[in-house]
């Protein structure tokens, strides 16, 4: 969610309207799961880890032929750590991290750009991530810069006011103007009642408006400390050299007193279906069915990931095939599991074709979920889902940025840097019965929030919630 800058130079770039429509709905980065499957075995990666006395962790993989690396600094703080009335703080701070330090002024990116590198950042529910992809020779410079902004950030009233306006433009751009832009924020607000996942990382307008320099400075002082940070480096570089510079630039930064594990409210089990009905200026009706699912890395997360592939992996996936291809009810239909540190949501969504009703789409999805729950899974279907996950895992090794993302997530959110080498086994062990059992356990009406978007025609824009079924 960081700084939006222009696209790549000289690429063959083609924009398809299908991608555009999906982009409006899929706002949440779903990190690809990984595994190994029949016929192909991914060679293990040599993952080297380091921990300094001040608590800073580093995870490094030397890999690749091109002289390019990605450096990421993960702070284990996201919108999950925010409290009501102070939402949007982690993301707001992410913006301010580009606005200068007491040491260097506002020149962070200059030192990346001048060697042809690119840098940016994003904030999720669970973490705030700063990254640079650049020629490998620039690693010492980037480590210096990251160490500098870990302790010397200069937050002024002027930069705060400016970034507040920028964040509001970001909100309008993501959620205000796109045709289905309000769907995801509204869904999360109603699917959760107490979990901080109720609000998206961008936070509420009011909270962002009220945030003061001292509050943000406190947030920075609390969470941007070495004992809450993880450095990830992937690409073609010397691990020994990297270690030397990590020690040189980060060892002197004092650890901070992290807040004593503040209890983050966990969502109580949902007991009845919720239905949210919106009218918006859209051409076609759409709906999202969201089901609560457990945290990432839990035993049930593996069969649920495979279930998502079976429902929605490729054009032969059940949902696309039935709704878009066979019955032609929908323009687009998919499922997606948004796994994260705390329990989150699995959703199925569809944008209906002209002439088809939401009720038809919802009935078709329900029938498919029922089939998954009741009809034994063909071995071929399970194998297909596994191979798709394996493909994604192999893909993640092609570029340093993708690999760094995976390593960072495994280390920070799942606390297991070696997961990339071991998770395959967990997927391979999942049986068809376990996929079905998970589908039965989670895809139940009382665990569901249904959000419907109706075209406004000429009427007003509205949002209404009802509890207890359709």
């Amino acid at each position: 969610m960081g700084t939006a800058r222009s696209g790549d130079r000289g690429r063959l770039r083609i924009c398809s309207i299908r991608v555009r429509i999906l982009g409006a709905l899929i706002l949440l980065a779903v990190l690809a799961p990984r595994l190994s499957a029949a016929g192909i075995k991914l060679p293990p990666l040599k993952i080297q880890t380091l921990q300094l006395p001040n608590g800073l962790r580093a995870v490094m993989v030397n890999r690749g032929e091109a002289p390019v690396i990605t450096l990421e600094v993960w702070y284990h703080v996201g919108s999950r750590n925010e409290v009501p009335g102070k939402t949007g703080m982690a993301h707001f701070l992410e913006h301010l991290m580009f606005d200068g330090t007491k040491t260097l002024g506002r020149h962070f990116s200059d030192y990346i750009v001048r060697v042809g590198g690119i840098d940016n950042a994003y904030t999720t529910t669970d973490a705030t991530v700063y990254w640079e992809t650049m020629p490998a020779s620039n690693l010492p410079v980037a480590l210096w810069l990251e160490a500098d902004r870990m302790r010397n950030l200069d937050i002024s009233q002027a930069t705060l006011d400016n970034e507040r306006s920028v964040v509001e433009e970001e909100r309008r751009r993501r959620y205000g103007n796109p045709p289905y832009g309000t769907v995801i924020p509204t869904l999360y607000e109603h699917a959760f009642t107490v979990s901080p996942y109720r609000h998206l990382p961008i936070g509420s307008v009011d909270d962002v408006t009220r945030a003061t320099v001292s509050e943000i400075q406190d947030f920075y002082n609390t969470y941007y400390v070495p004992n809450n940070a993880t450095i990830v480096i992937a690409g073609n570089f010397s691990v020994d050299e990297a270690e030397k510079y990590i020690r040189k630039y980060f060892a002197a930064i004092p650890a901070g007193p992290l807040p004593a594990a503040r209890p983050i409210p966990l969502e109580p089990p949902q007991t009845a279906e919720r239905t949210v009905t919106m009218t918006r200026d859209v051409a076609l009706p759409a709906f999202v069915e969201a089901y609560h699912i457990p945290a990432d890395g839990t035993a049930d997360s593996y069969p649920l990931r495979l279930a998502s592939r079976i429902l929605s992996g490729g054009d032969s996936g059940m949902i696309y095939h039935q709704l878009v291809y066979e019955k032609q009810l929908a323009l687009e239909a998919q499922s997606s599991a948004d796994f994260s540190e705390d329990p989150n949501l699995f959703f199925v969504f569809a944008v209906m074709n002209s002439g088809h009703t939401l009720a038809e789409g919802e009935a078709a999805v329900d029938a498919l979920l029922k089939r998954l729950q009741e009809k034994p899974l063909a071995a071929k279907e399970l194998q297909k889902a596994r191979d798709q996950v394996l493909f994604d895992l192999a893909s993640d090794r092609e570029k340093s940025k993708d690999l760094a993302e995976q390593l960072g997530y495994d280390t920070v959110v799942l606390n297991n840097p070696e997961l990339i080498n071991t998770e395959a086994e967990r997927f391979l062990a999942v049986t068809g019965e376990e996929v079905q059992a998970a589908a039965r356990k989670y895809f139940a009406p009382r665990n569901r929030t249904l959000l419907e978007v109706h075209p406004r025609e000429n009427g007003p824009v509205t949002t209404a919630l009802s509890e207890g079924g359709r």
């Binding site: 002024g105 045709p179 051409a283 074709n353 798709q388 493909f391």
Partner: protein, 486 residues
């Protein structure tokens, strides 16, 4: 006075604060040495390039056919896109579902589409399914069925999709800009087509387009990943060697934009928009133009990736926008240089004027020394990032072949860029950035900014629902497309 101060401030902005600890000095990155992979040509003219890399167990096929939406038949925009969209929807001996099943079963994916100057079909699989990938690619390129049911299904899908994007301010802004900027050329329509054209395209139009243009002599196949050269060539020959060329086509006339028409300002009114999409466009250059290098530097300074004048002014200094950028869109015979941003409705005029002022500044004075250095260093250093993965290498090779760039293009690129002075950049910029002949498109809630509009020049305001009527599909710029030489 303000202007002088502003320039001074910007001049200083390149330097860190004095007397403080600085990041370490490191040697500049080494120039990338690019080795053009060997191009194998099958007897039918299909060119095959392999970028072999065994670090991921994946094989990817990237095929481009050297034809795109510029070849849409007169009055039928969307044809090239619809042809490409139908490629995976059934072949002579596999149904759409069988194709989807096959590629999904191999862990992979299929992606097809049409842009400008090219259509593409990509197939990716786990590497133990490489033969299947070539077989499926042949289904897509050589023997798509265009079954009537599938044509109707894709037509309905496209119509629904157009209904959705016709209310998307960003999409509408790009579409209107293209219509005006490229008026009179083969690049002025929407590659997705319009409701009316998509309704009119017949199965025969699609089959004809495919027969005429999807031929091996127009196609380049880049094969990437975990496969050896002999195996690659064997599979290409086996599955694509029998692909036949049709009758040779007469060379097509190159589209050229018409003479200057004066500034055009269009406001597309969408009363419920909370942000205005802003585009300021000038004509640019063809990809192979010798002016490309100077414009790449100018573009980098004005609105290129990373730090640039638009971003610094509109976002960093004034907080008006989330993103601001300029793009050089370069095609075979022409191009565009487009500034893009979006801002809250009330600040529309202010933001647009700031974009125009930055464009004027690019014309009025040479770029600063530090800006020139940063831009050159970025462009040269960024080459390494463009060649990081095997897929990126393949896409660079395809671009070079598509636009007939010399094989040592990337090895000469650093020297080309470094040899240009600020005066060279200024002279080239003045050739292309022209405030008297630009296109300004604003899509947003016109009531919120109508008072300031006259500052921009004569304005035409169009309700978003009337965009299709206000900007009907252009007649083709070049009179008649030549028919196949018999």
């Amino acid at each position: 006075m303000f202007r002088v101060l502003a320039l001074l401030w910007i001049g200083l902005a390149g330097l860190p604060l004095p007397g403080r600890e600085l990041p370490p000095n490191v040697p500049p990155p080494e120039a990338v040495s690019f080795h053009m992979p060997a191009v194998q040509q099958l007897p039918n003219g299909l060119r095959v390039v392999l970028v072999e890399r065994h670090d991921a167990q994946i094989v990817r096929l990237y095929a481009i056919v050297q034809i795109g939406a510029e070849a849409d038949p007169p009055g039928l925009p969307g044809t090239a896109t619809m042809v490409a969209g139908l490629l995976p929807e059934g072949a002579s001996h596999r149904s759409a579902y069988q194709i989807a099943q096959a590629v999904d079963q191999a862990g992979g994916s299929i992606d097809t589409g049409a842009g400008w100057d090219q259509s593409y079909a990509n197939v990716s699989v786990l590497s133990n399914h490489a033969a299947l990938a070539f077989d499926l690619l042949a289904d897509l390129l050589v023997r798509p069925a265009f079954a009537p049911d599938e044509v109707e299904r894709i037509r309905r899908q496209t119509l629904s999709a157009l209904d959705v994007v016709d209310r998307d301010p960003s999409y509408v802004a790009d579409m209107v800009m293209r219509r005006l900027l490229f008026a009179g050329t083969d690049y002025a329509h929407s590659e997705d087509g319009t409701r009316s054209s998509v309704e009119r395209i017949t199965r025969k139009d699609l089959v004809d387009f495919h027969e005429r243009y999807y031929v091996p002599s127009r196609t380049i196949l880049a094969v990437v990943g975990d496969i050896t050269a002999p195996e690659c060539l064997r599979l290409a020959s086996r599955f694509l060697g029998g692909w036949k060329n049709g009758p040779a086509l007469a060379p097509e006339p190159r589209s050229q934009p018409s003479a200057p028409r004066g500034r055009q300002v269009i406001v597309v009114n969408k009363p419920d928009a909370v942000q205005t999409e802003i585009r300021v466009a000038n004509l640019g250059v063809a990809r192979s133009s010798p002016d490309y290098f100077a414009l790449a530097i100018a573009n980098q300074v004005l609105g290129g990736p990373a730090a640039n004048r638009l971003f610094d002014d509109l976002r960093t200094r004034h907080g008006l926008v989330y993103g601001a950028s300029t793009n050089l869109d370069c095609y075979a015979s022409l191009g565009a240089w487009v500034a893009k941003t979006s801002t809250r409705s009330s600040e529309t005029i202010k933001a647009t004027e700031m974009v125009l002022a930055q464009i004027a500044r690019m014309r009025d004075a040479p770029v600063q020394r530090w800006e020139l250095k940063n831009a050159r260093d970025y462009l040269v250093g960024n080459e390494a990032l463009q060649f990081e993965s095997a897929s990126q290498v393949a896409n660079q090779v395809l671009e070079m072949m598509l636009y007939h760039l010399p094989h040592d293009y990337w090895n000469r690129f650093p020297q080309q860029v470094r040899s240009l002075t600020a005066d060279d950049v200024l002279a080239t910029t003045r050739k292309y950035l022209n405030p008297e002949d630009d296109v300004i498109v604003l899509v947003g809630n016109a009531a919120a900014f109508k008072d300031g509009l006259k500052k921009l020049g004569p304005v035409r305001v169009v309700p978003i629902a009337d965009v299709g009527r206000a900007f009907p599909e252009p007649e083709k710029g070049t009179a008649d497309r030549p028919s196949p030489a018999k």
